[in-house]
């Protein structure tokens, strides 16, 4: 049995290299001194240090959440390095020539268009390496239309008022265990501000890379679209392969004012650990968008393939009347990976709409859970939600679960939920093979078919990338 599946050879994780680069790191461990160190390192204003310290003190009172269907040893927070920056210590480079050639080579290997001349693809890129944002391309071009796209640290310096106004306004520092931790120790990330009436002329993109073995990555992203503004933002992630686990605890906040639209797409390919479950990233991320204005629109699209553990629920708070929240997700788990991911749609305003399309693919011995909450508050007259949660199982040692929760407090709301579970069976694969189609191409065709409704939401190049990534991740593991 299953020889067809196993015949397809296993593909090693191709981003697993480590860059030999001098890093400027703080000793492992977490206390107020470390937080003061990070804040001082970044030359932060007092209010931000206060924000961090409050978050830290609150975090000390919290326990790690235990409700997700994932099992892992609690990270030793005193063994993690909370700050690691490539040398030279300058966090931001005046021009590409100042960037360490070794670092440039790393990003070339990763295929990040870090050189402006190579960035003809039309994507502006911010790159976060361990704790620090190393370069932001296309900044001038964007600035010409009033768009701010820079590293978080830089925004704190250049636009402190904006950062202060919106930081923590969607995900409060006390929101949850990992959000509190992030609020205390976040090191960098991206800041995007699209002013009133401006449609961002190109996709913006951040590329996250964890390089240091002991470092955690705690980035903070804040995107604000003012009235009538729109932006499409892409996030990519990889990490080297280590046989220890690295912690990634990010916070992403989106704010959309009246008739603004933010589309946030992620292709997450952190290192997932080896096939026996050794190593890999613990990905505990809080992503939330606030549809603050009337007729605003926030759309999350995610393709989650990496990480040993994924704990992630990109959500929308639909505060403005007629606002729209969307969540499109493909989560793939293989080997010993565990994912507990989904979304929350909180309907507060009238005639708010949300759509949830979740596709879970589990293979190997992995566990893949969808967890969703659709909440319709009493004043959300005419709210509507449609949810579709499909699971696909490959082989018989993996598991898929869906935990949808509905909390409807307005009688005029309409909420629909559909769910299916299917299996890529041996019979399907064999059928393709009998028609001359090799197993690996059959798998990718079946998976693409399954994920179609999500992939069509991704920007073109990302969709191509995602398709390849899924096939790669499944090679040798099916059955």
């Amino acid at each position: 049995m299953n020889s067809t599946f196993q015949g397809v050879t296993s593909q090693e994780y191709k981003y697993g290299f480590v860059t030999d680069i001098e890093a400027d790191s703080v000793a492992p461990g977490l206390n107020e001194e470390v937080i003061r160190f990070i804040s001082a390192k970044k030359g932060e204003p007092d209010w931000l240090l206060d924000f961090r310290l409050k978050a830290y003190r609150h975090w000390l009172t919290l326990a790690e959440p235990g409700w997700a269907k994932v099992q892992y040893p609690t990270p030793d927070f005193q063994k993690i390095v909370y700050y690691s920056a490539p040398r030279p210590k300058k966090a931001q480079f005046a021009s590409m020539d100042e960037v360490d050639p070794e670092l440039k080579r790393t990003f070339e290997k990763l295929g990040v268009p870090i050189h402006e001349q190579e960035a003809l693809a039309g994507v502006a890129v911010d790159v976060v390496f361990d704790s620090v944002s190393v370069t932001t391309t296309y900044k001038e071009k964007l600035a010409a239309v009033g768009i701010i796209f820079c590293s978080f640290s830089e925004a704190v310096k250049t636009h402190p008022d904006l950062v202060k106004r919106y930081l923590g306004s969607v995900v409060p520092a006390a929101d949850n265990f990992y959000a509190a931790l992030n609020s205390a120790v976040f090191t960098d990330g991206s800041f995007v501000f699209i002013p009133k009436g401006v449609a961002c002329p190109m996709d913006l993109s951040t590329y996250f890379r964890i390089n240091n073995q002991e470092s955690g990555q705690f980035e903070r992203t804040l995107i604000v679209a003012e009235e009538g503004a729109s932006v499409s933002y892409l996030e990519g992630c990889t990490a080297p392969r280590f046989d220890t686990n690295q912690l990634h605890a990010a916070v992403v906040e989106l704010v959309a004012l009246d008739h603004a639209s933010i589309k946030y797409s992620t292709v997450q390919n952190w290192y997932a650990g080896d096939k026996d479950g050794k190593g890999g990233i613990f990905n505990f991320v809080t992503k939330r968008g606030l549809c603050k204005g009337r007729g605003s629109h926030i759309s999350w699209t995610q393709v989650e393939t990496g990480s040993a553990i994924t704990w992630k629920y990109p959500s929308c708070v639909l505060l403005g009347d007629d606002s729209i929240g969307e969540f499109y997700s493909v989560a793939l788990t293989n080997h010993k990976q565990q994912a507990d991911t989904g979304t929350k749609m909180i309907h507060i305003g009238r005639n708010t709409k949300s759509t949830i399309i979740s596709k879970g693919i589990s293979a190997g011995d992995s566990s893949n859970s969808y967890r969703g909450l659709v909440k319709v508050q009493p004043k959300a007259e005419g709210a509507r939600n449609f949810s579709q949660c499909d699971s696909m199982l490959i082989g018989h040692t993996c598991s898929a679960n869906t935990f949808p929760t509905l909390d409807v407090q307005n009688r005029s709301a309409r909420v629909e939920h559909e769910a299916t579970t299917s299996k890529i069976g041996e019979e399907q694969l064999f059928y393709f093979q009998q028609r001359g189609i090799p197993a690996e191409e059959a798998i990718s065709m079946i998976i693409n078919g399954f994920c179609k409704d999500v992939f069509r939401e991704l920007p073109m190049e990302f969709a191509v990338e995602a398709t390849k990534l899924l096939s790669l991740k499944l090679e040798g593991s099916v059955g």
Binding site: G425, Q434, G436, G449, F450
Partner: protein, 254 residues
């Protein structure tokens, strides 16, 4: 073209084929008949390399090559095709995309030009006429929600696209009404060429009125008990299978 020698095979450790010998030459049409559970589908699936079956002995040569050295997809591209008794449904995969990929894989293997979606569209429009299929079926998911008869039409459409050297058709008539059976039977006949061969597996002799075999083999209990010409099919139609089994048990004496 195909030479089967003393083939034995089992599923989940249970022997199903207990020594099959069969020779098929180019230009020939063979029929395998027999009662339910006699191993007809098993024979077909073993030949095309279904992973559930274990070949326990014997040898099969296809065009001089040892069939069991080849992966199922390689066998397919070499010209071996099986139209299944119960084609599986594949949600999300468009029928047209599937047909095109199958076509292009074969074209690639034979060093012919692959067809882009537009070229393939012209190509497939001709082919669907052969099986009287509506164009709408091309845009649907592969076999998903197809009726039994529509699935069979789709199987023959795939055969028309791939033009296999040897097509094994398993119970083509099941799920088909009489008109559809004639349409598909005619299509199969049109696809037959002097350098091709057919192996028609059927429980009911009805289909053999359209696709006319020169050789008829009766399979029962995993063995070929009797072989004959077209007349044997007619005899089976009239008398059923029991007498063949009895005759075999008594060594041909009654």
């Amino acid at each position: 073209m195909l030479s089967i020698k003393n083939l034995t095979a089992s599923i989940n450790g249970t022997p199903v084929l207990k020594g099959i010998d069969l020779e098929i030459k180019a230009g020939e049409i063979h029929a395998i008949m027999g009662p339910n559970g006699s191993g007809k589908s098993t024979l077909g699936k073993v030949l095309v390399g279904h992973p559930s079956y274990e070949v326990t002995g014997g040898e099969v040569l296809f065009e001089g090559k040892n069939l069991f050295d080849l992966e199922p997809d390689v066998r397919a591209r070499a010209g071996l095709f099986m139209g299944f008794q119960h084609p599986i449904e594949v949600p999300g995969v468009s029928n047209a995309a599937f047909l095109r990929l199958a076509y292009n894989k074969k074209a690639e293997a034979e060093g012919r030009d692959e067809l882009d979606p537009l070229e393939f569209d012209d190509f497939i429009r001709e082919k669907i006429k052969l099986v009287s299929m509506k164009e709408a079926f091309l845009d649907r998911s592969l076999n998903e929600g197809f009726s039994g008869g529509e699935k069979k039409r789709n199987e023959i459409l795939q055969m028309a696209v791939l033009e296999p050297k040897l097509a094994i058709l398993d119970e083509l008539d099941s799920g088909l009404d009489i008109d559809a059976l004639r349409v598909l039977g005619d299509a199969v006949n049109k696809l037959m060429r002097p350098d091709h061969a057919l192996l028609v597996i059927t429980h009911f002799p009805r289909i053999l009125e359209t696709i006319r075999p020169q050789f008829v083999h009766v399979l029962s209990g995993g063995r070929i008990l009797k072989q004959g010409g077209p007349g044997l099919a007619i005899e089976l139609e009239e008398r059923g299978y029991d007498w063949v089994v009895e005759e075999a048990a008594t060594g041909g004496h009654r």
